[in-house]
Symmetry: C2
Subunit: 197 residues, 2 copies
């Protein structure tokens, strides 16, 4: 059993190392030694806090939810239309950044394990629900203030999130660059269609 | 080395066994013995035609492209609007069918390996390009015949395909049933928006 609960800054440092290792290697090829290579800790140092590679991934997923919320909140722009555009632009990962691309593909791999792994499923559900709540909140704000048509906020947010998640297999995993560019435009066109003329 | 190239019906049988085994176990937990359990062949019988589990998966992916095209062509309905609705309804997998759900989640897992595995990547690219071409063809047909607005067929098809692919992590891998239902409706609403009033 791991000896201790890590203090917040240690958990954040290890979560960052898991993120970097996942971005480079994916989940199937991930080892604690590869996580240690991205960390300021040794493998023994990691095992002091976590019993297994999967426990370290759970720590990363918990940190990722907080990080995503902070990142989405940081894109807060002038009014719901611009805020929604910026949030969606953030969610549809661009091909240029190899690190973000690798993390997104690894998240897709972790999602494929969710039906078989309750710990992963629980954290990934939190992550996706948090994202969905955030997007739905922006849409609801736009509907209330008369910026957007009278659409159903949660269903609209789900559609946008699905289109963003669908960019990972097409644009990032398979390198269909044109699909990635089309998606960025189409998401913005779709937001156009929500705006009251 | 495997002894022989399988005749088409043998390849199809083995591909079907790979599909059933992937649906039940996913890729990480897949073994040739689990494929044999879904096949009328023994493990030795499978190795007569294929050198490895991954070669059997490649055979499944090749067969899957043909199967998908036949399935999409079979949904040919009265005119481009109804054909596009039916094709998209087919692509957004419903939660009720555990077998289809399992295959879709396993496809997402294989996609996450695509950046690291050229054989998988090549077949998955064919599969996604074929699907995209098919959808873009329906949209182009609708634009030419004046049923749809003057949208860009390929970009529109990419958006619909991404939304469909995005239903896998949310609705199938994480069991967000409401997201699945919302997506079916939203895709149809989006197709409404393409139709000339």
């Amino acid at each position: 059993m791991a000896s201790d609960v890590p203090p917040p800054e240690t958990k954040a440092e290890i979560a960052g190392a898991v993120r970097d290792a996942l971005a480079k290697h994916g989940y199937a090829r991930l080892t604690t030694s590869k996580i240690a290579a991205e960390s300021d800790k040794s493998e023994a140092g990691l095992y002091y806090y976590y019993d297994s590679k999967d426990d370290m991934i759970v720590a990363f997923l918990e940190t990722a939810s907080d990080y995503l919320v902070r990142e989405l909140e940081a894109v807060e722009a002038a009014g719901p239309e611009e805020t929604l555009r910026a949030a969606c632009d953030r969610l549809v990962v661009r091909e240029e950044n190899a690190d973000d691309r690798g993390v997104d593909v690894a998240m897709m791999e972790l999602l494929s394990h969710a039906p078989y792994d309750e710990e992963f499923r629980e954290r990934l559900l939190t992550l996706e629900r948090t994202t969905l709540d955030h997007l739905a909140g922006i849409v609801a704000d736009g509907v209330e203030t008369g910026v957007f048509r009278d659409v159903e906020p949660r269903a609209t947010a789900t559609f946008l999130l699905a289109a963003a998640r669908g960019s990972t297999p097409l644009s990032l995993a398979l390198g269909m660059d044109e699909a990635g560019r089309d998606l960025h435009e189409q998401v913005q066109d779709y937001i156009d269609s929500l705006v009251v003329d």
